[in-house]
């Protein structure tokens, strides 16, 4: 056993993109792995649950957990890893804010299950069986984790020390977070390890962003051609850069797509959707009620737009009628 710091990585309710973002460290992954012992990483290494359970409390220097918490098993693992780790780092939008999987909070648990197991055209389930907590398989009782009513962020389940934002985070941010841990130069506990300011501040198109934005019509990307050098908002295309934390190297903008807010809001904002919607409202240059209603009604899927990543972390955490956990 070496004296190297121990690192664990785990995934909960996520798409796998955050795991990929670690692999995207490429050669830097070798630098990191040379400096640490990875003691648990189910997606890549063959350590078992029992290996971690056998460790002392606080023995792991830092655990990166990606994904939101939807299943009982995920909550259990998060709590177990919390006990074993000195630092727990929320890795990516789903752990941070609920992410895209958090959009499930727009629906009731029952509706999700019946849709998935009984209604979609590709399902073959003539008896209409829904997932059970226990079942008998070849004479043996098999237990399955429960499926909660509500998708939760990691910090709604365990204490989180730091957050690496993004869907997924950039390899640069992951590397920098690891170096901060290794070199013992972490900022105050609770920090989100990215920029403090909004994305516009570091956006390559910021010079074309007018000081006072005035919009009388929102255009969708498939309806219009736009100048690939100019600020999206100046072109009438909704971009959430002004209400989103910077630090992603303006990835989407550089790919000529507007920001959708995956880095979450800045430190002073509690509800990303409320903030984004309020910012967007403020740049509408119409106050005549009829005209205003027309512009606002043309905003496509406002819930999915403003809460694409932040629904589970929002004040209401989802649709009011979704049921309780």
């Amino acid at each position: 056993m070496t004296g190297k710091p121990k690192i664990a990585l785990y995934w909960c309710s996520s798409c796998g993109g955050c795991e990929e973002s670690v692999i995207d460290l490429a050669e830097d992954l070798l630098t990191v792995t040379a400096a640490v012992d990875i003691v648990f990483w189910p997606v890549a290494l063959d350590f078992k649950y029992k290996d971690v359970v056998a460790m002392n409390d606080g023995e792991i220097t830092a655990t990166l957990i990606n994904g939101a918490i939807r299943m009982g098993e995920q909550e259990h693992m998060a709590k177990m890893l919390r006990k074993k780790s000195r630092l727990v780092i929320a890795h990516g939008s789903c752990a941070h804010l609920g992410g895209v999987v958090g959009l499930a909070n727009f629906y009731r648990r029952e509706d999700l299950l019946s849709r998935l197991y009984q209604e979609v055209p590709t399902i073959n389930n003539p008896q209409g069986i829904l997932p059970q907590l226990e079942t008998i398989e070849s004479g043996r009782k098999v237990k399955l984790p429960d499926f909660h009513d509500t998708v939760k962020t990691l910090d709604q389940v365990v204490e989180v020390d730091y957050t690496i934002p993004g869907c997924p985070p950039t390899p640069e941010l992951i590397k920098e977070a690891m170096m901060m841990v290794l070199e013992d130069r972490l900022p105050p506990r609770g920090s989100v390890l990215a920029e403090k300011k909004a994305l516009c501040d570091t956006c390559p198109r910021r010079d074309s962003k007018p000081d006072k934005l005035r919009i009388t019509e929102f255009k969708r990307v498939y309806e219009t051609e736009w100048d690939p050098e100019k600020c999206f908002l100046a072109e009438g295309i909704i971009c959430l850069g002004p209400a989103t934390r910077g630090g992603c190297n303006a990835r989407c903008i550089n790919a000529n797509m507007p920001c959708r807010g995956c880095f979450g809001p800045t430190d002073d904002v509690r509800d990303q959707g409320a903030k984004s919607s309020s910012f967007l409202a403020s740049i509408i240059d119409v106050t005549d009620k009829e005209a205003l209603k027309k512009i606002v009604d043309a905003i496509p899927d406002p819930g999915g737009l403003f809460y694409r990543y932040g629904l589970a972390s929002s004040i209401l955490k989802g649709k009011m009628t979704r049921g309780r956990s």
């Binding site: 409320a274 919607s277 409202a281 106050t287 999915g304 649709k319 009011m320």
Partner: protein, 134 residues
């Protein structure tokens, strides 16, 4: 819904609408006791986060009352509110909150009667809608 008394949070701007409520009070006009008033300096101060917080904490309805357009003491705070209100209503409906549960109105310092009327209408509408499911 029998015996249901809606809870309504009202954000009233200091300069016009709060005065309007005061005028109703001075004239000893009766209005439903369902309204809990929070005084803000301007309707433009009402961050949408406050509204979500009110719904989360138990409000069945939320009202924002401000100065008439042109009368805002901070020039166009109320117009910002108007725009935010329209956008927020759409967001609220995606969150399972009927649009009528949020109401914006302009009430000047002299409009005690209008204040009573608006609060009564809102209370009646919330009675029809019933408690916000949570």
């Amino acid at each position: 819904m029998k015996g249901f008394e809606p809870k309504i949070i009202g954000f009233l701007c200091n300069w016009c609408s709060y005065e309007g409520a005061d005028a109703a009070g001075r004239a000893r006009k009766a209005y439903p006791a369902n309204l809990r008033v929070l005084r803000v300096m301007c309707s433009g101060r009402v961050d949408p986060q406050f509204i979500l917080e009110a719904f989360k904490e138990g409000a069945d309805g939320v009202m924002i009352l401000g100065c008439h357009p042109g009368d805002c003491h901070y020039k166009e705070g109320n117009l910002q509110t108007l725009k935010r209100y329209y956008v927020l209503k759409r967001v609220l409906s995606t969150l399972g909150i009927e649009e009528d549960r949020l109401r914006l109105d302009w009430i000047s310092a002299g409009e005690g009667d209008k204040f009573v009327q608006v609060v009564s209408e809102m209370t009646e509408r919330m009675r029809q809608l019933g408690p916000l499911p949570r």
